[in-house]
């Protein structure tokens, strides 16, 4: 008798897959990468490639060492590599980029169980690790287009430390100093719109994060337009505060998360000793994600009471 395949329903699945989502992330990061390479030269591409290669190799080796299945094909290590590179100054020594990548994948991601299990965003945690450990390298900035004139032109500051003298248009297009991937708000927004269309992220998350920073910096007497365009806010709000593993699971939770990120970012920028606060804000909110998840559990249809578990 002919043998038939028997399995429980549903028998029809969507075309979604983890690797598709990660691939969409990579596509969405491309405009910002192109601007980074255009403004900072081949060095930006080299740093990005080193980060991506190290992340992939670390993921492959640590999984092998832990005798776990190979997860290189889900592309998540590539996304981490690009995001970390985007958070580094273009003249960063390559060995520092390598250390950061290994830290992101091995310590932050894989030691906690790999994709979906890490409590902090690997790229953010690695960036903070590098800021604390290699402060000088992480704050040596390059003037835009310096590579074209063969200059080793070191910029004194990023736009955030001198917002009054930075033009809004430059912040939008990326004609400014800063980390590789954060300089052009426009390029990041294009990537964000792509992710919204592909239903990878919910637009309310970056909207809430950026909107909160806009309102609070305005209230505190800053220039809100420049505040939201400068620094790592766009990059963080669109690509890192929307990370699945490290943010709440429900929409309500995600919005609370984004609001918290906005408040902390503003506080650090306006009152803190660091000029930039996006990465600290996201990391701090990553830590309270389990608590947000707890208070934002859904209330199933037809159950009157609360459903806190």
């Amino acid at each position: 008798m002919k043998k038939l395949i028997v399995s429980p329903s549903p028998h029809l699945l969507s075309g979604n897959s983890t690797s598709n989502i990660m691939f969409d992330m990579i596509v969405a990061l491309f405009p910002a990468l192109l601007v980074g390479i255009y403004v900072f030269g081949p060095r930006a591409l080299i740093v990005t490639c080193v980060c991506v290669a190290t992340c992939m190799l670390s993921e492959f080796l640590i999984r092998k060492l832990m005798r776990r299945s190979n997860t290189i094909s889900d592309f998540s290590a590539i996304v981490t590599g690009i995001l970390l590179a985007f958070n580094l100054p273009p003249q960063i020594p390559l060995w520092v980029a390598v250390i950061g990548s290994v830290f992101a994948i091995v310590v932050v991601k894989q030691l906690f169980g790999g994709i979906g299990q890490n409590f902090a965003n690997p790229a953010i945690a690695a960036r903070i690790f590098l800021v604390v450990s290699f402060g000088t390298y992480m704050t040596s900035w390059t003037e835009p287009f310096a590579y074209r004139y063969g200059l080793d032109a070191t910029a004194s500051a990023t736009p955030l430390t001198d917002l009054a003298n930075t033009k809004t248009l430059d912040l939008l297009l990326g004609n400014t100093s800063g980390c590789i991937g954060e300089i052009s708000a426009l390029a990041l927004l294009i990537g964000g719109i792509y992710l919204v269309i592909r239903r990878v992220i919910n637009p309310l998350v970056p909207f809430t994060f950026i909107g909160t920073v806009f309102v609070f910096t305005w209230v505190l007497g800053e220039d809100p337009v420049k505040q939201i365009l400068a620094g790592g806010l766009m990059l963080g709000a669109i690509f890192m505060a929307t990370d699945y593993s490290t943010t709440p699971a429900t929409l309500k939770g995600k919005i609370i998360f984004a609001f918290g990120c906005g408040v902390i970012t503003t506080l650090i920028r306006v009152f803190g000793s660091y000029p930039e606060g996006v990465s600290f804000a996201i990391l701090l909110m990553n830590l309270i994600t389990p608590l947000i998840d707890r208070i934002t559990a859904t209330k199933p249809v037809g159950t009157g009471g609360t459903n806190r578990v």
């Binding site: 028997v6 549903p10 897959s17 989502i21 699945y244 037809g302």
Partner: protein
Amino acid sequence: MAIVRAKRRLAGAHVPHHKNTEQMETQRCPIPPRVVIPLLQHMGTPCDPLVKKGDMVLVGQKIGDSSHPFSVPIHASCSGIVAEIAEYRNVLGVSCKAVVIDTDGEQRIDPSIAPPIIQDRESFLSAVRESGAVGLGGAGFPTHIKLGYQDIDRVDKLVINAAECEPYITSDYRTCIEDTQAIADGIHLICRYLGIQKVYIGIEDNKPLAIERLNSLFSPAEDVSIVSLKSLYPQGAEKSIIYATCGVIVPKGKLPADCGVLVINVSTVAHLGNYLKAGMPLIARRITVDGDAVGKPSNLHVLIGTPIRAVLDFCKVPENSYGKVLMGGPMMGTAVESVEMPVIKNNNAILAFTEKSAQLPQTTACIRCGKCIGICPMKLMPARLEKAYDTRNPELLMKLHVDLCINCGCCSFICPAKRHLAQKNQLGKVLLKEYQSKGVSNK
């Protein structure tokens, strides 16, 4: 009466429609040489056989019944000789008896078949039972139990479920097109004997022709609304269609009737309408035959008890082309172990898929995307329920209301990691039930 758009809805998934058979008029599937008629084709107690080996049976003759109220009589779909009373195991693994009939192809009708005489509610309900009616949408719930609910007088709204949200299936749609008058008759019958004034017909907006046909049936004086629902799976789930049509949320543990609502599948209503006129009990039904292994997708009028193999043969499906055969839709249907199984009352489709498309993809780690939470019509948290089941934690399953899961399959459908979320919920329900019954026996 009017066509209205549903303003509210519970969540759901945008599944592909694949309604390839929409335009296919219903054809008659030929009488097979042998039919197997299981004596359990409803949710409830199996019937006892009323015939024995060697007996001659006629079309419409009652061949199985039970004194238990929670059962529905079974009728012969063909005339012929009873070959045997066999042991039968249905798709859910439940054993019962089955009457096997060697057909004579003459389809001689039982002379006692006559339109029922209905005077009051009691005779109406007994006629419903005698008609062999069960929920034809898939669940197979005995219709006379539903209509005879003790608090039926509190029911003031009748919802006709014509949503047909499952991909591929168009049998309810064809019923709306081809059997429109019977639907109206059935609705009038129910309204008259149960004293219901307000009728909603819920139907997805991808079926404009059916909406038009249904709309032309009722006079403006009648309080009948055709509610056009956005095509979103599972709009035809009982709780979803009640909310979308009447705006009523059925509380956990309550029946729709407790909220004053009665939901009936459109094909069931059409059967009641036809039975009232002709008196022929449920011996055949309309099914959709489709799937990527089917060369000639069709809508068929199939005699109950016809083996799936005969249906597939008629639709020109070569034996080596399929690897998986479903009874029902791809979202909630059951995969059969053998094509010798017969078509039964609550079977609205036979879908055959190639081995290639039936292969299950590899499951990967949960990435916490939360898509399963956003899509669940019951607002459950499947990712968390899965963990609760994996750690065998019945208390957490209870707190997370696993028993509210309607097994629509949206969570498994949407999951990018291809995790078996809906399936784990089913296992979780069993675990919770075991835990609860243990708790009772300890007390």
